[in-house]
């Protein structure tokens, strides 16, 4: 079996929240459908479906996708069937590895209720709080708009959840927000989400897609964010942003990530190949995955 080989071959596993993940890879929220889950069996050390919200959301009208140099911009708008339906079908994502659930609310109360609800389910290993959504009580700014709103929402969720909480932040103010999240009880920080961006249909002279920017193009920004955040907090950092190769995975881990999420690139590559390249890196450099974590800052650097 593919996974068997891996376990014995190079040291791929990492520890997160006291549990061993067979590989340090997991999907980024919103980039893996239930239909594609079987394709990645054995590749991911944990699984993470698309963000769920209290009620079902239709999301935004099309076009929702625009290509950009080495990346894309999306405006899906958190389309999802709502938490009831979502939890009913959670087993669609069961690959026998720890299951994260990503939640987003428009108010602190919504976040709290979602966390409480999701935490009660035994199948859930950990929760990722997607703070890149508008905080309707604060004039439409997102929950990432400042340390105080991060604190408020993380504390509220901490109060009702015994599950590990990873707080997913955007790039703006990421270090300050990460520190606030840790102080409020976060068990990990996911760094980062898409970046605000705009694309245009030049011939029609119309906005094409106004939304979130992802893909290899944003990797240098995400690397910087992971590096800066992992230097500022003690909790583990989960990296997200522009990974496209196994060497990228290694780089994010060197910069401080304990786990690395595979997002947009999974639309154009088989994640299995990325894991293969990562194993090759480890073999060539005679290192285990966990030895890589944070080694840019000293110890492990050559």
């Amino acid at each position: 079996m593919v996974m068997e080989r891996r376990k014995t071959d190079v040291g791929l596993s990492v520890e997160l929240f006291g549990r061993r993940l067979e590989t340090p890879l997991m999907p980024a929220s919103g980039t893996l459908s239930k239909e594609a889950v079987e394709e990645v069996r054995g590749v991911y050390g944990a699984i993470l479906p698309k963000t769920t919200t209290p009620l079902s959301r239709d999301g935004n009208p099309t076009p929702r996708i625009a290509e950009t140099p080495a990346g894309m911009v999306n405006s899906i708008g958190l389309q999802n069937p709502g938490v009831d339906e979502f939890m009913k079908n959670l087993d669609d994502f069961d690959l026998g590895v720890p299951m994260f659930v990503s939640v987003a609310g428009n108010t602190v109360d919504e976040f709290r209720e979602l966390c409480e609800r999701v935490s009660a389910d035994e199948r859930v290993f950990a929760i990722e709080m997607n703070l890149s959504c508008p905080n309707v009580e604060h004039g439409g700014l997102t929950f990432c708009a400042g340390a105080s709103s991060v604190e408020e929402v993380v504390s509220a969720c901490r109060g009702v959840s015994g599950k590990p909480l990873s707080v997913k932040l955007t790039f703006e103010g990421v270090v300050e927000n990460a520190i606030a999240a840790e102080a409020s009880g976060a068990d990990a920080i996911t760094v980062m989400n898409t970046m605000p961006a705009l694309t245009v249909d030049a011939d029609a002279r119309k906005v094409l897609v106004k939304g979130g920017f992802s893909g290899p193009a944003i990797k240098p920004v995400a690397m910087r964010a992971v590096y800066d955040v992992s230097g500022a907090v003690d909790v583990p950092v989960i990296a997200s942003g522009g990974v496209s190769t196994g060497v990228d995975v290694a780089e994010f881990m060197m910069a401080g990530a304990a786990v690395v999420q595979i997002g947009t690139v999974s639309f154009v590559r088989d994640p299995e190949e990325i894991l293969g390249e990562f194993e090759e890196y480890l073999r060539k450099h005679e290192m285990s995955a966990s030895e890589l974590i944070g080694c840019l800052r000293g110890a492990g650097s050559v």
Binding site: I65, I76, A217, T245, R269
Partner: protein
């Protein structure tokens, strides 16, 4: 998503469009599509995303795509010499075999693409059918020749009937099934005109990020279930399902 490196068996011009053939022995249904890109293994940033194309034909051994060169992705595919990279066949194709009479295949522009293959399938099933193709002008004559039985309409009248593809069709009510592919505006017009015909299937076109249901980029509005992913539940939809 997994991409397969396949040999290019041939690239040729068909009118203003490009016909590209590659070996594919797996099953394909008419109306299914593939995500394709010029070689750039393990991935290329220029362009970054693969492009969706309907299958033009498949004889069990060789699959072909018919496409119009629009931007960077199709330009590189048109220039492909040795290999390209393709996903497995994706999506839901046309339902066939439920017709109880003559079928009508309506292709607008490069929307002719899936009908070579569908026509082949209908022939195999012994389903009588007419093909009507609509183009802007005669620059696409080469394609029309590949559909010898087809009726052709051009907007400027330079080939066949002057007008839209619907203008070239006689009485729609003669048909027990309609299959249409083309710009979404044309599909909406077909849907309206086909009012009352039970089997009306439309192959829709939305921008796609992934092709395998993961990104939620390609949704179309349905009457009963809101926005659904056209790469998974389509690209072929029963006309009455769509909230157009």
């Amino acid at each position: 998503m997994k991409f397969h490196t396949v040999e290019v068996e041939g690239v040729e011009a068909l009118g203003r469009y490009v016909l590209l053939r590659y070996p594919w022995s797996g099953a394909i249904e008419p109306g299914q599509f593939t995500m394709a890109r010029a070689a750039g293994y393990p991935t290329t940033f220029d362009p970054f995303l693969a492009r969706p194309f309907s299958f033009y034909d498949h004889d069990g051994e060789t699959a072909s795509l018919l496409f119009e060169v629009r931007g960077r992705g199709t330009q590189l595919l048109a220039g492909a010499k040795e290999t390209i990279e393709v996903s497995r066949p994706l999506g839901k194709g046309f339902r066939v075999g439920e017709e109880n009479g003559r079928s009508l295949l309506l292709g607008g522009g490069v929307g002719v693409a899936p009908f070579k293959f569908l026509s082949r399938r209908l022939d195999e099933l012994g389903v009588e059918h007419d093909v009507v193709l609509g183009f802007v002008d005669e620059g696409v004559a080469g394609v029309a020749e590949d559909f010898p039985r087809a009726k052709v309409a051009t907007m400027d009248g330079s080939l066949g009937v002057r007008g839209t593809v619907l203008d070239a069709v006689g009485d729609l009510s003669e048909y027990s099934a309609i299959y249409a592919c083309g710009p979404n505006a044309m599909l909406a017009a077909v849907k309206k005109a086909a009012n009352g015909i039970e089997l009306c299937q439309l192959s829709v076109e939305e921008r796609m990020g992934c092709g395998n249901g993961s990104c939620n980029g390609c949704v179309v509005p349905t009457k009963a279930r809101g926005l659904v992913r056209s790469c998974i539940e389509g690209p072929v939809f029963d006309a009455e399902v769509l909230a157009w």
